[in-house]
Structure formats: structure tokens, C-alpha cells
């Protein structure tokens, strides 16, 4: 039996007095495609940001690729992770953001090659060759020299996906990657992600309001409410036969808002 690639164990997160996560536990298996759904404010983004070390945690443990994310072992003592440990752990994880966060002063190609060259010491030529492959994969071969300001939202997000992939992380996090896009640009991004999910054995965690896409993409769906997992299971079960009243009413609301299921 293989071990989980992510183990979240009684995780706690508070912003001041506001407890967002209070004893959350779940595992993710290597290669698993996980969809996190739930009402806005239920803590989905916070979970991804914690995994990307963009937040600090207030309690609990997270294990990624067999090592503690926020703790280090020193002899038999457990210490909070320092920057060097976080740097090491981040090499396993990549993230794509809702608002792309491309570097506006760098060309598309430089956006993609910057991190491989700086953090992995890859030769520029090798990084560029790989960047061009990735651009082809996301259908933007002709945009290598463009500046981000010259791209549409959908194109920007596809570049951001290529940029995150260039580091070849074992785990990829996607936080509502289509919700800042005009409706007609959503499909091109989803298409790229579907192909990615089919072609790689990367572990993926996806936060989304696109229920149809979650259904197709995910091996397992986690429905969150107020920082807790209310219900989880294969997409078929969650979307067709949700057992909890809160899941049912959430899905009803989503459908009423015009999203496909």
C-alpha cells in the first residue's frame, strides 16, 4: 500500500479571533485529483495557501512527501520550520492563482524560465526549450515573446499554468483559476487542465465553482462548510446522490446560479 503524499492532521488556522480551520484532517494519495468545493468563506483557499506556505498555521501537522511541512526534526525535538526548510518543502508544490499573478515586467518566456533558472540552476537554453514545450502544450507557442499585458485573461492563466509546471512539482494547487475570467475564456483554460489531469501523474488539488468541471476532473470531491469536510466521495456520488442536506442545498444554489453540474 502506498503512503499518502499529503497528510493533514488536526490542522488549525485562525485569523486573529476568527477560527477558520479547527481540527481539519484528510489525506491525499499520490496522483490523486481532488476537488474542493463549498460555499464562499468555507476555508478552501486558506487550505491551499497553507500548503503553499503563504499562511502560517496555528495548530496541527501537515506532512508532504513524507516530511513535515511546518515542523522540523532536530534530534528528538520538533521545531517550527525555518526559511531553509520551507524552501526545501516548496520544491514539491506549485500553485496557480485566481488572478494569474504573472510578472508584468517579464515576457511570457521569461515568466516561465525565471524560476527554473534561479531555483534549480537550469541552463537558460534548457529552461527555454522546456518553456517552449509547455507553451505548445497550453496552445500559446506564438506568444513566447509577448508581454503579459498583451494577453487575454485566458491566455494569462494558461501561461501561469505553464509557469508553475516548469518547476515540475509533484503537487499542483489550483485556486479558482477560472473565476476571474470572462465566461467565453473559461473553456480554453479548463481544456488545458483536463489534458494535464489525463496526461500526468501529478497530484492535484482544485478549488472551483465549476461543478461540471470538478465532476470530470476529480477522483474525489470534498465538500467543505465552515472549515469542516461535510461530505466526501467520488464525484458521481457527491453530485448525483449527496447524502447531507448542506451539500444538497449548496448544489441547488449553484445550479440556480447558472453553473452546470
Amino acid at each position: 500500500m502506498t503512503a499518502p503524499i499529503i497528510r493533514i492532521d488536526r490542522l488549525e488556522k485562525a485569523f486573529g479571533a476568527l477560527k477558520v480551520l479547527d481540527g481539519l484532517s484528510f489525506d491525499v494519495m499520490p496522483g490523486e485529483k481532488l476537488a474542493l468545493i463549498g460555499p464562499s468563506g468555507s476555508g478552501k483557499t486558506t487550505i491551499l495557501r497553507i500548503l503553499m506556505t503563504l499562511e502560517t498555521i496555528t495548530g496541527g501537522h501537515i506532512e508532504v512527501c513524507g516530511e513535515q511541512l511546518y515542523h522540523m526534526r532536530r534530534g528528538d525535538r520538533e521545531l517550527p520550520a525555518d526559511e531553509a526548510h520551507l524552501h526545501h518543502m516548496r520544491s514539491h508544490i506549485g500553485m496557480v492563482f485566481q488572478h494569474f499573478n504573472l510578472f508584468p515586467h517579464k515576457s511570457v518566456l521569461d515568466n516561465i524560465t525565471l524560476a527554473p533558472v534561479l531555483t534549480k540552476g537550469e541552463p537558460k537554453a534548457k529552461a527555454e526549450a522546456r518553456a517552449k514545450e509547455l507553451l505548445e502544450m497550453v496552445g500559446l507557442s506564438d506568444k513566447a515573446q509577448a508581454m503579459p499585458s498583451q494577453l487575454s485573461g485566458g491566455q494569462k492563466q494558461r501561461v501561469a499554468i505553464a509557469r508553475a509546471l516548469a518547476l515540475q512539482p509533484r503537487i499542483m494547487l489550483f485556486d479558482e483559476v477560472t473565476s476571474a475570467l470572462d465566461p467565453e475564456l473559461v473553456e480554453e483554460v479548463l481544456l488545458v487542465m483536463k489534458r494535464l489531469a489525463a496526461e500526468t501523474d501529478m497530484t492535484m488539488l482544485l478549488v472551483t465553482h465549476e461543478m461540471g468541471f470538478a465532476h470530470e476532473f476529480a477522483d474525489r470531491v470534498l465538500f467543505f462548510d465552515k472549515g469542516h469536510i461535510v461530505e466526501q466521495g467520488p464525484p458521481e456520488q457527491i453530485f448525483r446522490n449527496p447524502t447531507h442536506e448542506r451539500t444538497q442545498s449548496f448544489l441547488r444554489k449553484i445550479i440556480a446560479a447558472g453553473h452546470r453540474v
Binding site: 503553499m52 516548496r90 508544490i93 499573478n101 510578472f103 515576457s107 524560476a115 534561479l118 531555483t119 499585458s149
Partner: protein, 218 residues
């Protein structure tokens, strides 16, 4: 009729001193501004504390007093500076204290999501600053840096206090010797203006170069 060509030479010699003070002072101010500006946001509190002390001290005391210290008091501590070096030191550190706040402000105004992208791409702290944050902050600093440099140019006139023969000092000599106020002061008025124009033109050129490709971002 006084010998104007001789007096003109005198004023141009003064202009050279003023230009040197402005150039070297600006270079020092720039160094001080980046050191203190980055120090203000450093993750290590002694650095933040030192940077704050420097900035508050030099903004809170007058350039006149600072210059006096650089030239007349430092020798008592075993540091003797030439008048030019003392002038550059006082002007550079004084203007650098103001510019440090510009550096800090510009860095903090780079959107937070840029910083988060650098974390997600696993850049080190130095790489984040050097490759992502500073290149976006610099174009924001430039216009104010231009103003700072012009302020520095105008402040150079205080150096006559330590017997440096800058442009204003020479104009006063000419005035004393010829009895004419209009000619020497009209002359230096034009020269100051020309120097300020050079500064603002350079800064604008630089700004245009740096913001290439950034159109429509902010």
C-alpha cells in the same frame, strides 16, 4: 566696465563645484536610500531600528547643522574631510534619508500577489527582491528621485558655510567686486535652471526605458 570674461570664468568654476556636489551627493543619496529603505523592511529588527534612526535623525535636523558637523566637528573625532567630501557627505545623507522613504514606499506598493507568486515559484528572499519586486518598484521611485536630486542641487548653496566656492558663493564674490547684482545672479539663475533641466530630462528618459512593456499594468 568690469572684466566680465574673468568673472564669467569664476562663476563657471563655481558651477563645476555645484555640479560635482550634486552628482556625488546624488550617488551617495541613492546608496543611502536603498540601504536604509531596504533596512526599514528587513526581517531583522536591529536593521529596521538602525534604518529608522538614520532616517528620523537626518530628516529631523537641518542640513545646515549636518554640514557644520561634517566639516567642523568630525575632525575632533579624528575624521578630517575635505570641504567637497564634507559637502557630499552631508548632502547625500540628508537627501538619502528622504529618498529612503521613497524606496520603502515603492517596494510596499508592489501588489502582494506578485510576492505570493515568487513564494509559489520558490525564489529565495534575495531573488524575489532582485528579479520581481525591485524591477517593478524602481519605475515608481524614479519621478520622486528626480525631485530629490533637484532638491539636492538647490541645497548645495549651503556649502559656502564651509568655504567651498560653489556657484552661489562665486556669484557673491563677483557681486562684491563689481557692484553688479543683476549680472552674476541672472547668470547663476540660468545655470541652476539648466542643471535642473538636465536632471529632469535624464530621469524622464530613464523612466520611459524602465516602463517599456509595463503599459496598462497599473
Amino acid at each position: 566696465m568690469p572684466e566680465w570674461s574673468g568673472y564669467l570664468t569664476l562663476i563657471l568654476q563655481g558651477a563645476l563645484v555645484t555640479a560635482q556636489l550634486t552628482l556625488f551627493g546624488s550617488v551617495l543619496a541613492l546608496l543611502a536610500a536603498f540601504t536604509a529603505g531596504l533596512g526599514r523592511i528587513a526581517p531583522w529588527w536591529p536593521l529596521r531600528w538602525l534604518a529608522t534612526l538614520y532616517i528620523e535623525f537626518f530628516r529631523g535636523t537641518s542640513i545646515y547643522v549636518q554640514l557644520f558637523w561634517a566639516y567642523f566637528v568630525l575632525p575632533f573625532m579624528g575624521i578630517s574631510l575635505s570641504p567637497l567630501a564634507a559637502g557630499v557627505l552631508a548632502l547625500g545623507l540628508n537627501v538619502g534619508a528622504y529618498a529612503a522613504e521613497v524606496v520603502r514606499g515603492a517596494i510596499l506598493s508592489v501588489p502582494k500577489d506578485q510576492y505570493e507568486a515568487t513564494v509559489a515559484l520558490n525564489l529565495t528572499k534575495v531573488q524575489r527582491m532582485r528579479h520581481v519586486i525591485l524591477p517593478q518598484a524602481l519605475p515608481l521611485m524614479l519621478p520622486t528621485f528626480g525631485n530629490n536630486a533637484i532638491e539636492l542641487l538647490k541645497a548645495t548653496a549651503v556649502v559656502s558655510l564651509i568655504s567651498l566656492t560653489d556657484m552661489t558663493f562665486q556669484a557673491q564674490i563677483v557681486r562684491a567686486q563689481t557692484g553688479s547684482t543683476l549680472v552674476p545672479f541672472a547668470m547663476i539663475l540660468l545655470l541652476y535652471f539648466a542643471m535642473a533641466l538636465v536632471i529632469s530630462t535624464l530621469v524622464r528618459k530613464l523612466e520611459r526605458r524602465m516602463t517599456r512593456g509595463l503599459e496598462g499594468v497599473r
